[in-house]
Symmetry: C2
Subunit: 490 residues, 2 copies
């Protein structure tokens, strides 16, 4: 494709995307494809001869578009809603064209230094101390993996050289709450500690880690010769967005000399708001923190910001410079080479889109969107609370509402004899599953679910920049309509 | 930014990029920035109020463009040259706008299934057997990490649950050649085996792993109670693009029941050529292989294709489904959920650009570019060979030439008395370093270096789709001119 053809097709795509951004609601938010539809619709082998971009794009529209679940649709309320905003998309377009690979400062001074600038801005907006150095990874899973790898480096003698096998080492322990994210499980498996090295500390009635239980678990482990390695505090758990008591956990970690990693992948953004600044109270003595701008900061996937007060431990674990990557500026210590901070050698120019988003929205614009999403969630929560057929199943500290349809109108707190209660719960789980499927099949909204205290719970997550009160009202209407229909049919 | 503004600025960017692709040579290929230039030129804090895209883009041009090293410049001959081709850039533009996050089939049937289709096409083009299942990661570092994590899962009893510490486990060993990539070092560190668990097997005069030495190392380890875990064979090492004897290594691994991972990140693409199909001879009994389309297949970073005959071992290591990610189609086993294959939960729609590149180039177009690059490298190698002032330092099986300026004209094989030889080598190393800096400062080309047998060696890596004989001739001319100037000055 020469430059003239790129220009032509680029303009066509920009128009297609502008139309898409203008009217995403023309598509059902959740794909209606069946498994295998796309595989069956496409040839099993690559074409021998070049094909025109027109032919490729026609197949994109015909075969792939029906297979999209529209994360960029304002009715996307599942998991954590996200937004590819205009400046974020344009940033990615430039990133692709420039094809920077910022392993070394030399291979992209712009990507290397803009990462420092953009993460400095974000750090200030969130109120993180300047003692936190930042680096961009692809996902929170990889950020948390690096936090635990650094904690291992800091705690286990000579682990980089000698590893963990065939040595007279104790067992190590990592702690997180029962509500913490599965990326922590994957990270402890990855770094060789084993899944059983992860202790999931019980939560209180608001799904927050019980710090007394954490302290007790640490004490019991120490008594048994098990060495505490790291604690992960969640600021915004995935199911309910609960916030672990960070300061109390930080106090324990400081006293016990345990690495404290804060998983604020979703909710960390809210620390920009004066009303929510307190969610990071105590963070100054944490060792590391992850926040994902591709979740609630209007930046397309992928961009995960990892902040660390001890980035030298990350470098001690992974920095390694083969001859062919030596540079005079690197040898002189005059620059930071991104390849030194972590396992990946290749680094995409992810800072560009984040920088463009922060400038285009401005700090005030970011705060307005975040506050608006939280306000919308509070309104939805108030409708749930006011309706006897629905029950809220968790507090709503941010923009995610956990609720449940309980058509017998007795509320979650209803006291029934245990066997009847069991049967009732099973029936309600099934009814809520049917309700989830029904509203998702409408094509207008997409919500997801979780389980809390063993019960099937619906989740409505607000986070798309274009989501308005109309979308949220419509979601509530759909839930009521479909609930009524299901009730008529049973 | 509303849709109208996106349309306006999108068109402006497309025009800017088309101009860039048309005439990348207006920029010096290697940035002339000094460390800190960009940090100093930008504000230390995010703006409070939204800024216009015009203002943002003006800063992009003023501050960031001078800090770019132009990977998309046809004079980029460093490391492994790469190309962001038109269809690849347009694919990334769509990926950003659609913002698919393909952790589950449900969250993007299109991204999930197109990944399977695109990797099937690539597998066939490279002549890999259908027994290899594919998955896309971000980088070869992460692909190789997963290969070794899967090998660990397959070999170490109950490692997922119990880890490596405080157990009566033997030590494990991983083997690669002395020329293999540093991502292997990082992977063995990451998974807790420790850096010393990596044995670097000596290479022959053509920088290929010595299989007798590999067999001997394995035997010695077994005799000492150390358990061989994995061998990494390189098809295209980073310094010289040497190809390890894959079939002989595969025979050893099969006999010894050792996981064989093939690092074909750069050179695997060349297996598409009938002339180079043999480089993967024996691959059918390998366990896994990585090839990076963002290296020599004209696709923007990042996209790494990981193929595995035992993907269930990857899933056994990492699959883990929290309640909120359960779906009926997943429970029924009707779909593949990408989150199960590896550590990352979030998955970007990377297959789209790869699929667009394969269709836009066609298999014939991909082969033509690869063959042309190899042909250009052979011509450059022939010029080096014909010039008594330069010496080729390694065979040139693909598109990378390793050479050295030896202005005394005696050639690398010159026999000198040892003390004199040492002094000569030191002087030649310094001269070649000066030559590297001089040609890179020209702005017309960017080459990199390595060390072979202790000697500083220049590398010219051809791989950009727009690189022609004129660029390669010009590189040779620049090397000669600057060598002459340096010689005059000493």
């Amino acid at each position: 494709m020469d430059a003239a053809a790129f220009r032509k097709h680029g303009h066509e795509l920009v128009d297609w995307i502008a139309d898409y951004l203008e009217e995403p609601e023309r598509y059902p938010v959740l794909s209606r494809n069946s498994p295998g539809d796309i595989v069956r619709a496409l040839p099993a082998s690559a074409p021998e001869d070049p094909e025109s971009f027109g032919a490729i794009f026609a197949d994109f529209e015909r075969v792939l578009v029906p297979g999209l679940t529209h994360w960029n649709h304002p009715g996307f309320f599942a998991y954590f809603a996200a937004t590819a905003s205009g400046p974020g998309i344009l940033g990615e377009l430039l990133t692709a064209a420039l094809n920077q690979q910022a392993m070394l400062w030399r291979t992209s001074p712009a990507a290397t230094e803009l990462e420092q600038v953009a993460l400095g801005w974000l750090r200030q907006l969130m109120g993180l101390p300047a003692t936190f150095e930042g680096v961009i990874y692809d996902t929170a899973s990889i950020s948390t993996f690096h936090a635990l790898a650094a904690a291992r480096e800091a705690r286990v003698p000579a682990v980089r050289a000698l590893g963990l096998c065939g040595r007279d080492l104790p067992r190590y322990r990592v702690y997180c709450s029962a509500q913490a994210h599965s990326s922590i499980d994957k990270a402890v498996i990855a770094i060789g500690l084993g899944h059983r090295s992860l202790t999931r500390v019980p939560v209180d009635e608001a799904f927050r880690m019980q710090t007394e239980a954490l302290a007790a678990a640490i004490a019991a482990d120490r008594a048994a010769g098990v060495v505490p390695l790291a604690v992960i505090a969640a600021v915004g758990t995935t199911s309910t967005t609960s916030v672990d008591p960070l300061r109390a956990i930080a106090d324990i970690c400081r006293r016990e000399h345990i690495w404290l990693h804060v998983d604020a992948a979703y909710a960390g953004a809210a620390a920009m708001l004066p009303t929510h600044r307190h969610i990071l109270d105590g963070v100054e003595s944490a060792d590391s923190l992850v926040v994902n701008p591709h979740k609630w900061l209007f930046t397309p996937v992928d961009v995960s910001a990892f902040y660390c007060r001890r980035m030298d431990d990350v470098r001690a674990a992974f920095a390694l410079t083969p001859e062919y990557l030596k540079t005079s500026e690197g040898d002189a210590g005059a620059v930071r080479n991104l390849m030194d901070t972590g396992i990946q050698l290749g680094r995409r120019f992810r800072a560009l889109k984040l920088w463009m988003v922060m400038r285009s929205f401005g700090a005030s614009g970011l705060r307005e969107h975040l506050a608006r999403h939280i306000e919308l969630a509070q309104r939805f929560a108030s409708w749930v609370d006011a309706d006897p057929r629905f029950t809220r199943m968790a507090p709503t500290p941010f923009s995610v509402v956990c609720f449940r349809w309980e058509p017998d109108g007795t509320g979650a707190a209803a006291t029934l004899a245990p066997p009847a209660a069991d049967a009732r719960e099973v029936a309600l789980d099934a009814l809520n599953g049917r309700l989830l499927d029904a509203v998702n099949q409408s094509g207008e909204i997409f919500i997801s679910h979780t389980k809390l205290n063993g019960r099937y719970v619906l989740r409505l997550a607000i986070g798309h920049a274009r989501t308005t009160i109309d979308h949220v009202s419509r979601a509530w209407q759909l839930l009521q309509d479909h609930a009524a229909r299901i009730q008529e049919s049973v």
